[in-house]
């Protein structure tokens, strides 16, 4: 009983964080057709901005939403500076890998300079602990497990039930046709990045509430998010969400039965197997579309 509860809980929790990260990567890929390698840095920056605002005396209930909005702006600016100028180039996918990696590295070192290497922590969403099914869990983690699906559902509603969301899905499918119905394609690209960055920032705030933060805290989640989107298929929003939870459960089960040490190896084993069976799931098929 307690084994099952532990795996279930661990899977839901990790899956939530992965989903928050992966959805942003997938959103940017489907709309613009590029991989954003500064996505992990968005996560880190969201956490540090929240920390700074709390340090300045803002209550968490204000600081966290403000940090998320700040991250939307950061995402927009990053898109305008290192992605938009390259749109239309034939080798854009590779070039953007390099420019976003470079921008991410600059921001990471900027954070190190501004905030220093000492680990920090931000307040939990909710303080306290509970015991469920014989497993001790923090209320912060439970809050994350509950809030994440709500946010993902809101994103889904936005994409599928609003005209602006429709426009984002349209740009994802056919850029020329989007221009010809009068969509502001550049603004929609900015919006995709802004949403992705806020979601990553929120994931950072979630993470900073139960683990120590450091300027490199985003690199492992970025790697995991990449695995999730590769595994789940990249051309939609729902694929990565399911994959995120699946991988969350897989990791939780692995670390329960085989230990934390073996988990990454097993995860990559599964990933490689997936790629062997469905190689077209990755870069080859660039069919894009948000659903």
């Amino acid at each position: 009983m307690s084994a099952l509860a532990e795996i279930l809980f661990g899977g839901l929790f990790q899956g939530s964080l992965y989903a928050m990260m992966a959805v942003g990567l997938a959103l940017v890929w489907t709309t613009i057709g590029v991989f954003n390698f500064s996505h992990g840095v968005f996560m880190m920056l969201g956490a540090y901005v929240a920390w700074q605002l709390v340090e300045l005396g803002l209550p968490a209930a204000v600081a966290f939403p403000v940090a998320v909005v700040v991250m939307a702006g950061v995402g927009w600016i990053l898109q305008a500076s290192v992605v938009r100028p390259l749109i239309g180039r034939p080798n854009i996918v590779l070039v953007v890998v390099i420019t976003t990696l470079a921008a991410g590295s600059l921001i990471e070192n900027g954070a190190l300079t501004i905030w220093g290497p000492r680990s920090k922590q931000i307040p939990a969403l909710i303080d306290g602990n509970a015991t469920i099914g014989g497993v001790g869990v923090s209320l912060h983690q439970i809050a994350i497990i509950v809030i994440t699906p709500l946010i993902l559902a809101a994103l889904w509603m936005f994409l599928n039930r609003t005209r602006l969301g429709l426009a984002l899905r349209a740009v994802a499918q056919n850029e020329d046709a989007s221009h010809l119905v009068g969509l502001n394609v550049t603004a929609l690209y900015g919006l995709a990045f802004a949403i992705a960055a806020s979601l990553a920032g929120l994931a950072g705030i979630f993470m900073g509430g139960y683990r120590f933060m450091s300027p490199v805290m985003g690199s492992d989640p970025l790697l995991k998010a990449l695995i999730v989107v590769v595994f789940g298929g990249i051309s939609s929003i729902s694929g990565p969400i399911f994959a995120a939870y699946l991988i969350g459960f897989f990791e939780a089960a692995c670390s329960y039965y085989f230990g934390l040490y073996w988990t990454p190896a097993l995860l990559f084993g599964v990933l490689i197997l997936t790629l062997m069976v469905r190689p077209e799931g990755i870069f080859a098929s660039r069919s894009r579309g948000l659903a």
């Binding site: 005209r163 429709l166 426009a167 899905r169 349209a170 499918q173 056919n174 020329d176 046709a177 989007s178 221009h179 010809l180 119905v181 009068g182 969509l183 502001n184 394609v185 579309g289 659903a291």
Partner: protein, 237 residues
């Protein structure tokens, strides 16, 4: 009548390749305009330059007196100049309903959304039956209907069609030609690129033969030619 669209010495191309060489033409003085000519000679490129998908290197494009050369495609849609591109690739994973909503996206078209939707459904009743179906699941003819329907949702003052009947079976093609005639009778001026000369002769009052990125011949009303003469213009001088 004043021309609604004037293309003045437009040069345009892709990268270092120049496709349009100083091309000039006028539309709307006599009615609908047809463009024809061999493949790969710049008809699509001209339409892309007109609708702002491609920035001309030089020249002017006057739409209702306003120079739109160099404006964004979005701004040009905002003036009511609407372009249905070649090949109806559209939005494969959106439904017909979604495409129609996108057609009415511009602030100019939004107030007319309901009225234009009625028109589209009246023109293409087949679309109503498949309203919630994804575009990728439609036949070629239906996809072309969605393309044209989306453009009508944009409340066009001038409608540009690039090879609307390309690749359609004869029966479907006839239906589509009839619908395009209906649109014209409804008062929307047209510029149509088409391989089917018979259709162009029926639909348009003025023809341009585009060859090597320039106008090789202009055929004005009263100078109507027969099919054979046009074929000889195509293939030899």
């Amino acid at each position: 009548m004043n021309p609604i669209l004037t293309v003045e010495s437009v040069t345009a191309g892709y990268g270092r390749v120049t496709v349009l060489h100083d091309i000039s033409l006028e539309a709307g003085r006599f009615g609908n305009v047809g463009l024809f000519g061999p493949n790969g000679h710049g008809k699509t490129t001209l339409l892309r330059a007109i609708s702002g998908l491609l920035k001309p290197k030089s020249g002017r494009i006057l739409f209702d007196g306003q120079d739109v050369a160099g404006l964004s495609a979005r701004a040009i849609v905002g003036t009511g100049l609407i372009h249905v591109p070649q090949g109806n690739r559209l939005f494969p994973d959106l439904s017909i309903a979604d495409c129609m909503a996108l057609g009415a996206y511009s602030s100019r078209a939004r107030p007319h959304e309901a009225e234009n939707r009625e028109k589209v459904i009246k023109l293409f009743p087949k679309l109503a039956e498949r309203w919630r179906q994804r575009v990728r699941t439609l036949s070629g003819g239906e996809r072309q209907m969605v393309s044209i329907g989306t453009a009508l949702m944009s409340h066009p003052r001038l409608l540009i069609l690039d090879e609307p009947t390309l690749g359609l079976a004869p029966k479907i093609k006839d239906e589509l030609c009839a619908s395009v005639m209906d649109i014209s009778r409804g008062g929307v001026p047209l510029i149509v690129v088409e391989q089917d000369i018979e259709f162009l002769l029926e639909l348009t009052q003025q023809l341009y033969l585009v060859n090597h990125g320039a106008v090789a011949t202009e055929i004005k009303p009263g100078e109507s030619l027969d099919h054979g003469e046009i074929m000889s213009m195509y293939f030899g001088h």
